[in-house]
Symmetry: C2
Subunit: 467 residues, 2 copies
Amino acid sequence: MDTPQRPLYAPGALAPLLRPRSIAIVGASDRPGSLGARALANLAGYEGAVFPVSERLSEIAGRRCYPRLSALPEAPDCVVLAIPAAAIETVLAECAAAGARAAVVFASGYAELQTAEGLAAQSALSRIAREADMRLVGPNTTGFANLVTGAHCGFAEFPHGYRPSRGAVAIVSQSGAMGLGLSQAAEHGVSISHVLTAGNSADVDVADFLAALAVEPEVRAVALAFEGVASPERLEEAARAVVAAGKPVAAIKLGRSAAGAAAARWHTASDTGDAARWSDLFARCGIVEVTDLGRLIETAAFLAKGADLPRPTAAPAIAILSSSGGMGILAADAATRHGIATPQPSDGTARALAAHLPAFGSPRNPCDATAQATSNPESLVRCADALLADPRFDALVLPWGKAWVSPCFDALSEVAASHGKPLCLVWMSQWLEGPGAVEAERLEQVSVFRSLDGCMAALRARTLRRD
Amino acid sequence: MDTPQRPLYAPGALAPLLRPRSIAIVGASDRPGSLGARALANLAGYEGAVFPVSERLSEIAGRRCYPRLSALPEAPDCVVLAIPAAAIETVLAECAAAGARAAVVFASGYAELQTAEGLAAQSALSRIAREADMRLVGPNTTGFANLVTGAHCGFAEFPHGYRPSRGAVAIVSQSGAMGLGLSQAAEHGVSISHVLTAGNSADVDVADFLAALAVEPEVRAVALAFEGVASPERLEEAARAVVAAGKPVAAIKLGRSAAGAAAARWHTASDTGDAARWSDLFARCGIVEVTDLGRLIETAAFLAKGADLPRPTAAPAIAILSSSGGMGILAADAATRHGIATPQPSDGTARALAAHLPAFGSPRNPCDATAQATSNPESLVRCADALLADPRFDALVLPWGKAWVSPCFDALSEVAASHGKPLCLVWMSQWLEGPGAVEAERLEQVSVFRSLDGCMAALRARTLRRD
């Protein structure tokens, strides 16, 4: 853990990590499954210069190898150290000597051992980086990825060739495994721009990564997961900077419990701090806190899609529209649990609804469009339009009972955009990634949740934001 | 809603519904998408006699049609009425005259309208059924399915040809859409035996369906969702019968809030009753209550897989094993939230763990097997074995960070079985149905959850059961 006293790195200081012009890989390998081979393969979509460094090989997969860092044709922006811990200190010094501006260390066996030797070894790495003004990510990290540019300095298995669409979420995580698990939401259509994992944070930590995202244009919101940081003040400063840049943040704090905090000390040698103080800090900065990991990405994606929408200042009132009466009832129950009102529509809205519903539908709130909405999807769009037009409602929640691609999807997104209010589609089918899941997620103005509680918590948190 | 006074139907009384020897479909059709066509197509895998009834057609898809019920070669066990509301009363009387023992009415426009006419129309149907001692499902229902026999008397789109594997969950739901949405969990490997939806419950209600499952051999646990019943006493009797038969029940009660209760009156004319009294009733019967729909099926599947395992009588203590330190920390946090202890392993267990872990792993609880568990899956099995063997732990929770099929899956299931303790694999990857999801769900002795909170709540509920 580096010194808590140093200031937050300016966003530009992390450019050699997030937007490197060149990447060298020490320990580049052709052995399938090795970290060196995986790290090299992960750069397939990167357009900058790649310099594999190998004492043994002259070429890997068509890329020319260099025997050592000092033999590179130019000073590398970022060096990935895919080598055992025993060689790290020497090679990190060589990075500095070669003029590298950043380095990434995968190896474990440092501060997380909680031994004097482990701490001393990590301090030595910090010192080398600090004295060379070279940014260091790790040790004990899987690396990080800018999925916009393809600059993936790590060995985690992101889908090759993945590129985010508009309105992307950046993931910042101390834990590499958690960063990877979260980023796999991309498989059902969530747009992910960065996966920045910090590991032991001997130099760069999650606060620095967070602050750097303020100037990354593709990022619309951030999902943050961490155990502890050297300086809560630095994290607060970073959070304020990124929120002020119009990029909302959802966060999960690991180690809130005594049992979890003890485990965190064994994991990354982090002092997790007092949970209540962290919650206060989040509230001060306008960070939306979640405790269930599964809700982190969907909450961040919701914040991304709603980043430009006006926010109510009091507890919100919502309309509920469903093709299933039962799911409408559950949604009303969930709203109540989260302090969200579900008032009845105005007389005018009720008349508009009645015009689009069958006689056995319910032109109320919750509005039951009945199973007829399946055969007549346009009626669902007209009802959504009527409910969103009613000033009594701040948002529309649409429990989605069956996995299917509705022909009304695009129209729902357009209707939501035209009213400037969130439309939340809650995927109630237990076919969690069945037909329609990706299509719904990709709608520009529709947010997808996989639980009513997650949806209501996000709607509530969005409106209670203090800033 | 039928009279609250009548006794619960004996399980055998529902045999014409759940195990009919023959099914007639009035309104059978060859028009794609029509209810009559969908109901007929849903009987593709049913081995009993099928009698399509159509005034217009002499044959549909190779099946001989009959012009009217009185023309059938034998009295049908069950008649499906896929016809408009206007004709229902007349045809239901014809069902009785033809000697049918059960009928299913899809049509809407009855008690859920909350008009005198709607209530009277529904009462008329109840009376016809009662006087003929003919069981009636509906009106305002999508029907129901026995997926074991293929007897699907409804128009909902279950996967054709689906058959449950061992240890199946039966779904009982008032709402048809909800029953379908829940049953789609079969798409990621959950074994579903029945989807029994009751609609307006003019005669048969969720209590009768629940009781009937006590004698269905393929059912290992029940997932129950309902708004209200005519008689809570009948539901309690049914719940006691099915639980006494060794089939645990997980339930979600719709309309717990005032807003939800009002919506329920508009949906199926149900009086939802007082939420706290329902919770008391569930506790008395040993029903595990959930409030988040997404947790209903995974909780029921967990109860199914653990139906034969001994249950601790005090709050449980669990071991946590993960290949990601961060996810172990989150699991410890979640356990604490649910009043579940995470004690340290015995010295002997810690030594056994250390023998299977790399130096930077953590032979503690949570046990961090590190990313090495990916390249050496056997180490994960050995650690699971050591933790489950330790009498300090009632169960093992395994947060699973990345979507992948581990070669150790079968061995994990065997280890759990050998110790007679639950092993819960919590799918933390946001690739919710990615590689490994189906394979994990199909493990005989491994329960899959998609959130730590859902897992901990189920573990806690299982052990606090009062009976």
